[in-house]
Symmetry: C2
Subunit: 135 residues, 2 copies
């Protein structure tokens, strides 16, 4: 660190490719298993480091599943948004800020707190999973 640029190394390219092949959310361990299944040799620490880096670059975002597990989802950088995670298939969609900002302003006025960051995660069922096992 310290310098501006990050090196484009082979292991990072591999992690990026593993991420790109994923559809829903995934953990570091999922990627490790993917790599193993495809006979790709890559160090555990390297995968963790690459995921950290990608999260820092806003290419990935870290989310907390209801189970308490830490997972990553790919996302578009440069705008504030949240995720809906499908409990059934794990697919993830981005949704826009949905007026939370206004609500937070209200809270600040009412309570005297200063809200600096927030984390919102939504969980439910995607359209596909709804129609495939409609009850």
């Amino acid at each position: 660190m310290g310098r501006a640029g990050y090196r484009l190394t082979e292991p990072r390219r591999v992690v990026a490719e593993l991420v790109a092949r994923r559809t829903g959310h995934f953990t570091a361990n999922d990627l490790l298993e993917d790599a193993q299944a495809r006979d790709i040799e890559i160090g555990r620490a390297t995968v963790f480091r690459a995921l950290d880096l990608f999260a820092e670059l806003d290419v990935l975002e870290r989310i907390d599943l209801p189970t308490g597990d830490h997972a990553y989802v790919p996302c578009l950088p440069e705008h504030h948004h949240h995720h809906i995670v499908c409990d059934t298939c794990g697919r993830v969609t981005e949704v826009e800020d949905l007026g939370l900002g206004v609500a937070i302003d209200q809270i600040e006025r009412r309570t005297g707190w200063e809200v600096q960051t927030h984390r919102l995660e939504l969980f439910g069922r995607c359209p596909t999973c709804q129609s495939s096992r409609d009850d």
Copy 2:
């Protein structure tokens, strides 16, 4: 389990007391350290089990800190609410649902997803910490 009641045991009473002495959020490990500092003997597994139980009874709620750590906060059961956590002192306040329900309805209509649960956590500075180191 299976039956209705839970036993009121000494270790559970101890954990409840340790929780009551806490002001902000805390981890299982914080309680273990508290116990140690006060020369109270209690098993690690027991603390985890008691916290699980209290969370199940809605006396505590599990939250995820921005660091990724899992913590607990005491809260009033029987109504839906969220928490603001002070980054400086760790104090926690409950806030009401703040119209998130309406926003979620909108998302469902727009995206076709069915939102079942959500988790929202707010982080910032409490009034006390704002005034004590105002910049």
